[in-house]
């Protein structure tokens, strides 16, 4: 596959590792923010290839994992309505809420459909005019422009049975929240490649300048990740704190303007709650007033009971890089991919799932 295979070359990997090994005087914690990066690192066995002085921490870049328990419970309540069809990306289906999950509700007769593109959700809405289609809009800046575009289409086509459960989040504020909590020492960030396609490298300048933390925007092939690590080490050694782009074949400093405009047409920034991180100011998106007709919060109000997280589930700490999954009481003993207790074990980008499957 073009633009994929060349970036998995073993000989080049060995060269980059040798470059990395030269920084043996440094002892650093590097955080990969994005869940997809976590997966590549584990799936390709990159941790074992790195020297001991480079420690990789997994961050909160898994959209399903950072969705609050209240939000999970709300989606489950929405599913119970027999007039509602839930359209969602796959991961959400098995996440356990306080009392149930979308998968369990499906077993009870709820109409929950897994889709791969928002256009499928529109198709479902067209084909089922008498029912309400609720799309679970959970994701970061890679996905929010697509949802915005889809809502503009829905409005143009005058589809009147389409709604979104709006739960988009923004990455840079979460990165700042982690730094400000000072729970864990982070010496450098591997920034998410595809979120950065949308927001551009300029969006991370404040991390480098205000907090003096080096940032490298990395692609998702194993060589991209290794090179990003090398670039971070080089910055740290040279006492620089800049935003560099390893993934410059797709990421530009100003990002994708059209995508940004789509987002700002439909959404506005707001404070939202992150699992494990609490409420982070200006870290999420909500629908603008003129689009409130699509908002389940306005149009399909629910009465939800109190939400509770399992007190032994360490997802929150794992998401902040404070604990490794192996340090969670439930990990592997009770919490497994077949019987997950928290979203980090369910999601295809969850840190616990990565440890369990590939560790």
């Amino acid at each position: 596959m073009k633009f994929v295979d060349e970036f998995r070359d073993r000989a080049i990997a060995e060269r980059i590792i040798k470059k990395i090994e030269r920084f043996d005087s440094l002892k650093v914690n590097l955080m990969e923010v994005c869940g997809t990066h976590t997966m590549v690192i584990f799936k390709q066995g990159l941790k074992g290839m790195l020297p001991r002085n480079v420690n990789l921490l997994s961050g909160p870049g898994c959209p399903v994992c950072v969705t609050s328990q209240e939000d999970i419970d709300k989606t489950i309540e929405l599913a119970k309505d027999e007039n509602v069809i839930i359209a969602t990306f796959g991961d959400m289906v098995r996440v356990p809420g306080t009392n149930s999950s979308l998968e369990k509700e499906r077993g009870n007769g709820a109409d929950v459909r897994i889709i791969y593109s928002p256009s499928e959700a529109l198709r479902i809405a067209r084909e089922n005019p008498a029912r309400k289609v609720v799309f679970l809009a959970i994701g970061f800046e890679t996905t929010s422009p697509l949802i915005a575009a889809s809502l503009l289409d829905v409005r143009k086509e005058k589809i009147d049975n389409f709604y979104i459960f709006s739960s988009h989040k923004l990455i840079p504020p979460a990165m700042e929240a982690l730094l400000e909590s000072k729970e864990v020492r982070i010496d450098g960030f591997i920034c998410p490649g595809h979120v950065s396609v949308t927001i551009g490298s300029n969006a991370y300048k404040f991390i480098a300048q205000k907090h003096s933390i080096p940032c490298v925007i990395g692609g998702f092939e194993p060589l991209d990740v290794l090179q990003s690590i090398y670039m971070l080490l080089k910055q740290i050694k040279e006492k620089r704190a800049e935003v560099e782009i390893e993934y410059f074949r797709a990421v530009h400093p100003e990002g994708n303007r059209i995508a940004q405009e789509l987002i700002s047409r439909v959404f506005e920034v707001t404070d939202v709650r992150w699992r494990g991180l609490g409420i982070i100011p200006k870290s999420g998106l909500r629908l603008k007033r003129e689009f409130s007709g699509f908002d389940t919060e306005k149009e399909l109000p629910l009465k939800t009971k109190k939400s509770k997280e399992n007190p032994d589930c360490a997802c929150g700490e794992v998401l902040r890089g404070v604990k490794k999954p192996t340090q969670c009481k439930l990990y592997r003993r009770i919490c497994t991919p077949e019987e997950p207790y928290g979203p980090c074990m369910v999601s295809s980008e969850g840190t616990c799932a990565a440890y369990y499957k590939y560790g």
Binding site: V4, R10, Q44, G45, M49, E338
Partner: protein, 357 residues
């Protein structure tokens, strides 16, 4: 629509000729077809004429067969959705699947049974098409279908048609193939590309908006197994990785033989299109079902000649040595990744593509 999977014209007398004598509304399967009366008999007579063999033609309650030696006996049910897909259909799957289960213990498949549970309203012409397909698959595999059964259930009681096949085969003396027999030092040979079947099924489901030329790899493996046994009876383990894919099969063998397995990602053959779909949807080819591939665990010294004979067979031309059995990490499978890292290859957990076999 790409006619890649349309079936060639059947040479055997169509079943509808039998039924035309009776009422016109018998173009669909009715509950009456399962009641044991005249319509049932018409159906059975049609099958018998198609499958054409002496034990079946007797129409006794059981087929009576003679054997001498060690028998292998297996059964499997087929509920694949959709029932037609690029490269095959539920009938072909049902025959090849059971033939392969027998071949995987080193047996020469001889006789199969075929039972169908049919939903009321299922078109007769579709049933005929599936029967033709089973007939063709049985001929290619060299087996006879000697007993069968049909039941009809009300609308909603089954999804179109479910098929069960059981099979009997004979195992030569000196052949001892089992999942428990893998030994340290064994080389692991994979007969061809993985993931073809599962992805072909996905592409036939219209909810997935992509097009490929991929076909199911449903094919009988008894021929290639026979070729292997001809050059070496010392094959330790054979397995056809169906549901759960290659990863699950390797894990099962590692566990049952209490050995460690190491495979190399780069050596595992995967078609570009399978890679493309997997990248697109976030799947891993190692977990996708196959219906015409096998892994063979063979002693190091026989490896080259077995590989050679596999590659000469039409179903084994892409065969590769993909790994080794080791003493380390007993019960686990470890993959050397494309870039040279290492990671554990777990069994399939949780997520499973619905009804692909």
């Amino acid at each position: 629509m790409d006619p890649a999977w349309s079936l060639p014209k059947a040479h055997v007398q169509p079943i509808t000729n039998m039924v035309k004598k009776f009422e016109d509304n018998t173009k669909k399967i009715l509950l009456a077809h399962g009641s044991g009366g005249k319509l049932t008999h018409q159906l059975i007579k049609g099958f018998v004429k198609k499958f054409r063999n002496p034990p079946l033609a007797k129409l006794d309650d059981s087929a009576v067969l003679r054997f001498k030696g060690k028998l292998a006996f297996t059964t499997d049910s087929y509920v694949v959705d959709p029932i037609y897909f690029p490269g095959g259909d539920i009938g072909k799957l049902a025959v090849n699947g059971t033939v392969n289960d027998l071949a995987m213990v080193g047996a020469k498949p001889l006789y199969l049974t075929a039972s169908a549970i049919i939903e009321e309203g299922f078109p007769l012409v579709e049933l005929e098409r599936i029967i033709d397909s089973m007939n063709r698959a049985a001929r290619v595999a060299g087996v006879k279908i000697v007993a069968g059964d049909t039941k009809v259930v009300e609308k909603g009681g089954a999804d179109k048609i479910f098929i069960n096949t059981s099979g009997i085969g004979l195992i030569d003396s000196g052949v001892d193939i089992s999942s428990k027999n893998a030994r340290i030092g064994d080389r692991i040979i994979l007969s061809g590309t993985i993931g073809d079947h599962g992805i072909a099924i996905l592409s036939a489901r219209e909810k997935f908006d992509f097009q490929t030329k991929l076909k199911s790899d449903s094919q009988p493996l008894n021929g290639i197994v026979w070729e292997i046994l001809k050059v070496s009876k010392k094959v330790h383990t054979l397995r056809d990785p169906t549901r759960g894919g290659l990863a699950t099969s390797l894990n099962e063998i590692a566990e049952q033989s209490r050995v460690g397995i190491e495979v190399e990602q780069e050596k595992i053959p995967v078609k570009e299109e399978v890679k493309g779909v997997c990248e697109m949807l976030g799947f891993d080819p190692l977990y996708i079902a196959n219906e015409g591939k096998l892994v063979a665990f063979v002693p190091q010294k026989d490896c080259a000649k077995i590989l050679n004979v596999m590659r000469k067979n039409r179903y084994g031309k892409d065969a590769q040595i993909i790994g080794t059995v080791v003493a380390r990490h007993k019960g686990r499978v470890v993959v050397k990744t494309s870039v040279g890292g290492e990671r554990v290859l777990d069994m399939l957990t949780g997520e499973q593509l619905p009804r692909i076999c």
